[in-house]
Symmetry: C2
Subunit: 420 residues, 2 copies
Amino acid sequence: MTNRAGDSGVGRRSSRRSFLARLTVGGGALAAGLAGPARAPAADPPAPADPTRELGQPVRPYGTRSRFETAVRVQARTPTTVAAWTFTPLQDSRGTITPSALHFERHHAGVPDIDPARHRLLIHGLVRRPVVLTLADLERLPAVSRIHMIECSGNGSTEWATPTMPDVQGTHGLTSCSEWTGVLLATLLEEVGVEPAGRWVLAEGGDAAAMTRSLPIDKCRADVLLAYGQNGEALRPEQGYPLRLVVPGWEGNTHVKWLRRLKVGAAPAQTREETAKYTDLLPDGTARQFTFVMEAKSVITFPSGGQRLPGPGRYELRGLAWSGRGAVRTVEVSTDGGRRWQAAELQAPVLPIAHTRFRLPWRWDGRDALLQSRCTDETGYVQPTLAELSAVRGLRSHYHQNAIQSWKVAADGRVSNVHA
Amino acid sequence: MTNRAGDSGVGRRSSRRSFLARLTVGGGALAAGLAGPARAPAADPPAPADPTRELGQPVRPYGTRSRFETAVRVQARTPTTVAAWTFTPLQDSRGTITPSALHFERHHAGVPDIDPARHRLLIHGLVRRPVVLTLADLERLPAVSRIHMIECSGNGSTEWATPTMPDVQGTHGLTSCSEWTGVLLATLLEEVGVEPAGRWVLAEGGDAAAMTRSLPIDKCRADVLLAYGQNGEALRPEQGYPLRLVVPGWEGNTHVKWLRRLKVGAAPAQTREETAKYTDLLPDGTARQFTFVMEAKSVITFPSGGQRLPGPGRYELRGLAWSGRGAVRTVEVSTDGGRRWQAAELQAPVLPIAHTRFRLPWRWDGRDALLQSRCTDETGYVQPTLAELSAVRGLRSHYHQNAIQSWKVAADGRVSNVHA
């Protein structure tokens, strides 16, 4: 949750002329660096005063992060730690890839302990050649790698009526982005031969919840991936080891983890997760079903809720944008609650259905400011305000909250979550 | 070094008609899956026979990989583990990103233990406004994220005269690829104001070796990055925490880790690392100096040395290609020692100075085969054969060995490192 032990995460000095104008040798620089909040780590033993005077640590087979780094996933308030979820610390994220160790989690019955040598995938139902496959079988098939975000459709669900979570980890931390490697489901469907009546695919996880979701076969043929790799190595256990679905741009729950079965059928199976759950209650009392796509969304990650700016001066506003329908076309940023908008710079490459980093220089004059970002995707869809979204969806919805987020910067530099 | 405990990493069945033709329900499939080499992990306790019958593990603040995953960096034979290096297990790599935990290492005096709150960067020499900067100062400056490979110029140094290392980890494992986030050195040079006489920048590390290299100022202004982020989180300790140079496309040694000082000068400093080391001894006894660029290179990672194909049939040849001069334009693959070449498919996006995954379907007829890959980059430079490279460089060179690699597949399926 914190950025780094003993470090506020933002600069302590500023000026109207330059980021560095006051930081000169022998003078303000060192003082500026040490003037931050006293959050020194309880490091034991302390790091050497001069690391050039001591021989360092040896090479290692598999590395870990510095003992001074403390960013963590934070658990939602749930009665158990197995039917639970955790949020990615987006305020600490750099670039666009989410470290696998910090990818958000959602487990309905905990993370199963699966021996990959004994794991099997059954493909059956309306197919000509049903099969049971090993991991080795799947790894031998033609592979693809794709950088995609996954977002839980419950991301932001606390923010419909009132600004609830104090920071961006809580408001937006149920989204993460990885490089996934595996086999296209299209390749497998081709191999097994789908019967003409086969229109839906039921995916089942190998966890104790046996999570099941139904997916239309057109999507399955288009771009669904059976992933065994994540960020260059094997999938992590909490992200579905040894095999998961990646369903680009669709709500996270459809990306079935610990995948053990695919059944081709004529209709959706109407499982618990697509009837009692993962539907959207509308103002008229009816519920929308199979609202798969995660629409365009963005959020400013710096500065964001819970942070504090050290004073007026030059800053770089930073955030993440994404769309389940393709690439981000533009991100606009407002510092006055939506009256004026400026186009932010998008970090290249801008990849479809992937976290896209945006940045915009900002000079803070020290007065109240209201920071917002608005994403437009390649289809032309524009991220709505909360008022616009609520007018259609009402306030009884839980999932698919993609409204513009507002952060208020107060005159004392404190940043808080507000509805504007 | 191994792919996965209890799993050969390749399929066990094949056919001329289909990858999956023999894998049918109730028949060969399960048998095929269990027929691999008996390398069951000594897992304690064993995984549940049916993971759906047991509640799984709880959510975690910071994840780790599955206990069944065993890929590791392997250390070169050196007298110590602090003046040492390790190789990335490229045979286990998926996609293009290298997990930070498996990024190759090269330390001259071990990995220093640095408290980021106390770390400083001094920029001085021929500059108008010398500064001392904290990490917080640097993180406040305009940032960029770039996906780049880093390759040690000693990668492949054992392979000049005879095929020496048994596997691709040993022949090519001194290259890795990450998303780096930080400040462009150009931004800092602009802030400090370089004097007209300033033509070179000396970079110094904060480790016990105080590693120093000189870089031409034009390169520093073009694309050199001061990185504090790697793959979405803070830089890892063995990759320079809390701050390193990334010098896109240039030999790894120039990417000075644990960066604490930049001194602008009129000429290179002629340090040990650019005179006694990191020069190329030519056939006439002279040595080339400042041979910074890592030229185009590629290698097949599957199948590769030490692996064994289970039998004739369909496979997908997979490998990695890169160039220090920009993007990979094409990768051609030969299975007959270079007589015929076929263009491989390149995984999009093809990014400049980044690992590029290539793949090509291959039907192995069960006879001796000689696998090679050849990279051409966007400048038109073609990766040379070892004979072509040696004709220019001789056999007394150590660094910058970028010749075409040959893997021999014997009739029994065993793959070995050969010179062809």
